[in-house]
């Protein structure tokens, strides 16, 4: 395992010696009597992990398991040794989540207010929240939109706001569930670049295969199982070949 630097995380959270990374042990998930995910055992320690697969294969369920939004019906998910079943809050502080539709995750009427929401929930002091909000507004070119209603932003700006809203919470990892599906080409590239530049570990579920070029590892999900797992150079062509 490579040693990775996490400058921000180290400052705020004590290092967890035991099992760093996200570990899934014999994980299965059912919705009612429908099995959506079965027998998944793996450990994610890479900086950039991609997840691909057909519609309905179980990618979103897999992604939601990683930060405790979904608790597995069998098996265990550990984030830096924390069980998502019993330590959901601590896990969610470590693992941010960006959804496909930014409209569903922007919950405050204006841009700056929405950015402040996450850190506020974490009990971050007001001055520090203010600092982070300014930083995010700056970094993602939203400074001119500080007090603008979120619904007037473009689709790309909304997704950047959604990402910034998660980053303002300073998670160590971020899971993205199809962050570029609703975006045009220019904005897809922009979000791809943003993800590339993140210092956090990321897991990205996507149908945009070219997003995964520089990734360290790509999982292919098929009918609720991890059908392939490896470097993008191997798994992506394998997946594409299977679609023909």
């Amino acid at each position: 395992m490579r040693w990775r630097r996490r400058p921000e995380a180290d400052a705020e959270t004590p290092a967890v010696a035991l099992g760093s990374g996200i570990e899934l042990r014999d994980v299965g998930h059912d919705y009612g009597d429908r099995t959506v995910l079965a027998d998944v055992s793996l450990t994610l320690t890479e900086r950039r992990v991609g997840v691909i697969g057909a519609n309905g294969s179980g990618k979103s369920t897999f992604a939601r398991l990683l930060n405790g939004l979904v608790v597995p019906t069998s098996g265990t998910v550990l984030v830096d040794g924390l069980d998502t079943r019993t330590q959901a809050r601590a896990v969610r502080r470590r693992v941010g989540f960006v959804f496909q539709d930014p409209d569903a995750q922007i919950v405050h009427p204006t841009v700056a207010e929405d950015l402040a929401f996450g850190p506020h929930n974490q009990g971050v002091p007001a001055e520090e929240i203010e600092r982070r909000v300014e930083e995010m507004l700056d970094r993602y070119g939203l400074a001119g939109h500080r007090d603008h209603p979120a619904h007037l932003l473009s689709g790309g700006q909304k997704q950047l706001l959604a990402i910034a809203g998660v980053l303002a919470m300073r998670p160590q990892r971020i899971v993205f569930d199809e962050p570029t599906t609703l975006l045009d080409l220019a904005n897809t590239r922009r979000v791809a670049r943003v993800i590339e530049e993140l210092e956090q570990d990321v897991v990205v579920v996507t149908h945009h295969l070219d997003l995964l070029a520089g990734f360290d590892r790509v999982l292919v999900v098929e009918d609720g199982r991890v059908a392939a797992d490896g470097a993008p150079g191997e798994t992506v062509p394998w997946y594409v070949a299977r679609m023909d």
Binding site: Q105, H108, E130, H148, H151
Partner: protein, 213 residues
């Protein structure tokens, strides 16, 4: 209509939201205790002076608030002319106008977060009954956020139906809209979880000091 805040650094902008809301409430009560046109008219002039002068709000920010109701004001005036007299009618219209303008000034110079904080503070005695004031605040903020969004989705569905030849407004539109809204609500719930809405501290950290707008 929901993007009422007009950024600025004036005295009115910087005044605490609680004070502004308190004054607005007092004005609301006070205006109904008097029947004197001079007092009511004076209140309107003061509200305009505070808004356009002290707060440097653009004229249209206030006009936009009055526009949706001017017809009602006119109807009210005519009604009074017919039933009571000119003086009563003038007072009634000026009174509502003064309140409208004053309310518009408050909302244009106060961020939603600050208004919500006041509401939360007012609701804090309810905590003994198990009410969580932060939740009330969040609901208000989310309502303001999602009304335009739902309106937008409704418009899109209407377009989609028009594109397929349904040129009249149909009740059938409600079904896809409801489906969309419910689906989105499920994701919003997850997003609230993911963004730690459950972890909200018992006490809201104070908003930043008067330096900022």
């Amino acid at each position: 209509m929901l993007s009422l805040y007009v950024p600025g650094h004036s005295v009115v902008h910087r005044a605490p939201a609680g004070v502004k809301l308190g004054l607005l409430a007092a004005l609301g009560v006070g205006l109904f205790l008097t029947e004197r046109p001079a007092v009511v008219g004076g209140a309107l002039v003061v509200a305009l002076a505070v808004g356009l002068g002290a707060a440097r709000l653009p004229w249209r920010a206030l006009a936009a608030q009055v526009r949706p109701v001017w017809l009602w004001l006119a109807v009210l005036f005519v009604f009074h002319l017919l039933v009571t007299d000119l003086r009563t009618g003038t007072v009634a219209v000026l009174r509502l106008l003064a309140l409208l303008v004053a309310a518009a000034v408050v909302t244009a110079t106060t961020r939603v977060t600050a208004l919500v904080a006041v509401v939360e503070w007012l609701a804090s005695p309810l905590r003994v009954f198990g009410v969580r004031p932060a939740r009330i605040g969040l609901v208000i903020a989310m309502t303001l956020r999602f009304i335009p969004l739902v309106a937008e989705r409704a418009a899109r569905i209407r377009e989609a139906q028009a594109a397929r030849g349904a040129d009249r407004l149909r009740w059938g539109m409600a079904v896809p809209l409801l489906v969309q809204v419910l689906r989105m609500a499920a994701t919003v719930g997850e997003a609230l979880d993911a963004r730690g809405a459950d972890d909200a501290p018992a006490r809201r950290p104070r908003r930043r000091p008067a330096v900022a707008s």
